[in-house]
Amino acid sequence: MSIKDKKYEARIQKHFGKYPDKRSAVMALLYIAQEEYGWVSPEAIQEVADLCEMDPTQVKSIAGFYTMYSEKPKGKYWLQVCTDLPCALKGADEFHKELKAYLGVEEGGTTDDGLFTVEHVMCLAACDKAPMLQCNFHYMENLDMEKMKAFVEEKRAELEQQTSKK
């Protein structure tokens, strides 16, 4: 595992080509690292620092500043529930609480089977479709617990099938 692998080279070079200095590509490279490792692990930070010719501490400070870089491993499905005011007016807070209770996790926590991570997120600009969430960058809208339970059970069944095959 490394973003210095050949398969990322062209993409990384393309990002470097956009800017007058290497540092400016650091956010794009952090996304690539997150894609490779699933989170911005210490190895990922080091590799990005090497490539961007930066100090690892500087890279770490950037990863920590922006919320879309995950500083710990996440579940296979990263559920980010929007709980801002327009969504809250349509019951998003309640929905968020019930979802965590159903999965048995705290805010930002991951289920024991490694499938789901739940956290709240700032406005996703789908206020008209609340309650809504983003699951690995895909929007799921007009939700209620019934729909979520069906989704969760479907994914659990998939996992079970995969493990029983192995």
Binding site: M27, S61, Y66, T67, M68, L89, A125, C127, E141
Partner: protein, 543 residues
């Protein structure tokens, strides 16, 4: 300028072929409707058309946002003669009926009445192509007069002419500030240096705002064209679109649009066979609201933490990598093409004395017609909420309208007849902002609402300056204490003092505006705060 004419001819040819179809079925493919399985509806309609051998008579295509998201999924059916019918809440199962009804009476069960004010009271400039053209197809944009303005600018106008036209139009920044666009452009144009940048701020993050997302998803070329014209006017060769990573669909559409424009020589080197070079790069944000502030945005592009810095120096003098930089919002760029096409005077005739043109608003919260609207400046809040928005969904009484996101404020129902323009909203203690409008009904608790916004500001504070970082956290704690009924008058006094302090001493606009939700709710709904305070004697007794 033969190149543009060639482009235009081939686009027209394509349109003629389409006109050969007797009917066109348009399916809304903006994110709001897409999530409701519109792709399967598209397939079902295509299957029906193919099944009945109607391929040459009926065209099925995906288009951008049609506005009335509350009624989605939406499908519009238009005939050759231009008559059209709009269907709402369409499902796969409705496909046979819709196709069967093409040559007879429309399916009344699904039909949406388009003679209502939601449709008739709008004035579409920015959204003129939304819901009409396929955003992934550059020919459709060109056939709809797209890139004609760029062609005119490059072949017939000097940069000074372009800036003059934009200045005459009276266009003001649509991202919130409301600064004169013409003035901003001329300042950057005058700045010394050969290397300059154009930035499109697509870091839309206000709760309740989804206009920019929709414009980018529905008509991306309009924004690219506006940026290229800006580049020509100020003397820049490179543009960046800073967009939220949370908008994957908009990012995809932009990528497709940039590739198509490069292929047609509408971006890149020697655009339309002229001396003008202009490239556009997409830059993804990573979930920091503060990056919507222009100096923070530039820091973020430079690969730093997105934290604002004091101004001056302004980006016009010292911007991206220290070079003169123009930063405008998505909707501002989207207005440029029509201004060039129709002239600044035309635009200046729309709206009010100080707020020209139209504004796109996102309607959210307790309102029947949630979705996107575009209205002339100067329209009253009443027209927006009741005529266009259809009022509250359960017929509950309206209490307030929150505009301008976390930097804005709550306007109480007694001011419902106020016009919507930059100055009027500011006078009422709110703010035009980027265009989110959250409708609040009688069931809402205004202290809770202020607390929601304060939580947002606290979470999103970048932490660079103390008044904002510490002030928002303290204000949040005090609001929470009031909501829990554990606060005394002294807490409320302290809250007001902190509002003042944070407003006057924060580094950037976002910090300075962070107490606005509290200030405006205190101004109009103070009793909701005071009713919860514990009486002074009880406080004494506890000691």
């Amino acid at each position: 300028m033969s190149l543009y004419n060639d482009l235009r001819t081939s686009a027209e040819l394509q349109r003629e072929q389409e006109d050969g179809h007797r009917h066109c079925l348009r399916i809304c493919r903006a994110a709001g409707c897409l999530s409701q399985h519109n792709d399967s509806i598209t397939r079902a309609l295509q299957d029906q058309v193919h099944g009945q051998g109607l391929e040459n008579e009926v065209q099925v295509k995906g288009v951008g946002c049609m506005g009335l998201c509350a009624a989605g999924p939406l499908v519009s059916v238009s005939t050759h003669e231009g008559e059209s019918v709009l269907y709402q809440h369409v499902s796969e199962a409705d496909a046979p009926e819709i196709v069967a009804a093409l040559d007879s009476e429309p399916v009344t069960r699904l039909q949406l009445d388009t003679s209502t004010p939601f449709f008739t009271r709008q004035y579409k400039i920015v959204l003129e192509n939304s819901g009409i053209i396929d955003p992934d197809n550059i020919e459709e944009y060109v056939a709809a007069d797209g890139y004609r303005a760029l062609n005119t600018v490059l072949s017939e106008m000097t940069p000074a002419d372009v800036i003059r036209e934009v200045t005459i139009s009276g266009l003001r920044g649509r991202g919130g500030g409301g600064y004169s666009t013409g003035l901003k452009w001329s300042t950057v144009a005058k700045a010394a240096g050969d290397l300059k940048y154009v930035i499109c701020n697509a870091d839309e993050g206000d709760p309740g705002a989804f206009m920019d997302r929709s414009v980018l998803e529905s008509d991306p070329h309009r924004v690219l064209e506006g940026m290229a014209i800006a580049g020509y006017a100020i003397g820049a060769q490179k543009g960046f679109i800073y967009i939220r990573a949370e908008y994957p669909l908009a990012v995809e559409r932009l990528k497709t649009a940039i590739r198509a424009a490069e292929k047609k020589n509408l971006l890149g080197d020697n655009i339309l066979d002229t001396e003008f070079d202009f490239d556009i790069e997409i830059r993804l944000g990573a979930g920091a609201f503060v990056c919507g502030e222009e100096t923070a945005l530039m820091a973020s592009i430079e690969g730093k933490r997105g934290q604002p810095r004091p101004r001056p120096p302004y980006p016009a003098d010292y911007g991206l990598w220290g070079k003169p930089t123009l930063v405008n919002n998505v909707e501002t760029y989207a207005n440029i093409t029509p201004i060039i096409r129709n002239g600044g005077e035309w635009f200046a005739d729309i709206g009010t004395d100080n707020s020209k043109g139209t504004k796109v608003f996102a309607l959210a919260g307790q309102i029947r017609n949630t979705g996107l609207i575009e209205v002339p400046m100067g329209i009253t809040l009443r027209e927006i909420i009741y005529d266009i928005g259809g009022g509250t969904p359960q017929g509950t009484a309206l209490k307030a309208i929150q505009s301008g996101g976390p930097s804005g404020g709550c306007i109480p129902v007694e001011h419902i007849d106020s016009p919507v323009d930059y100055e009027s909203l500011t006078r009422l203690g709110s703010f035009m902002g980027s265009g989110g409008m959250i409708v609040i009904d009688e069931t809402a608790d205004m202290v809770e609402i202020a607390k929601y916004f304060m939580e947002f500001c606290m979470t999103e504070s970048c932490g660079k300056c103390i008044p904002c970082r510490v002030g928002t956290a303290h204000m949040y704690r005090l609001l929470d204490k009031i909501v829990r009924g554990q606060a005394a008058q002294s807490d409320l006094d302290l809250l007001e003092e902190l509002c003042d302090l944070t407003r006057n001493t924060s580094l950037c606009g976002l910090g300075q505006a962070s107490p606005n939700a509290v200030i405006s709710t205190l101004r109009y709904f103070r009793h909701e705060y005071t009713a919860r305070l514990i009486p002074e004697f009880a406080e004494e007794g506890e000691r």
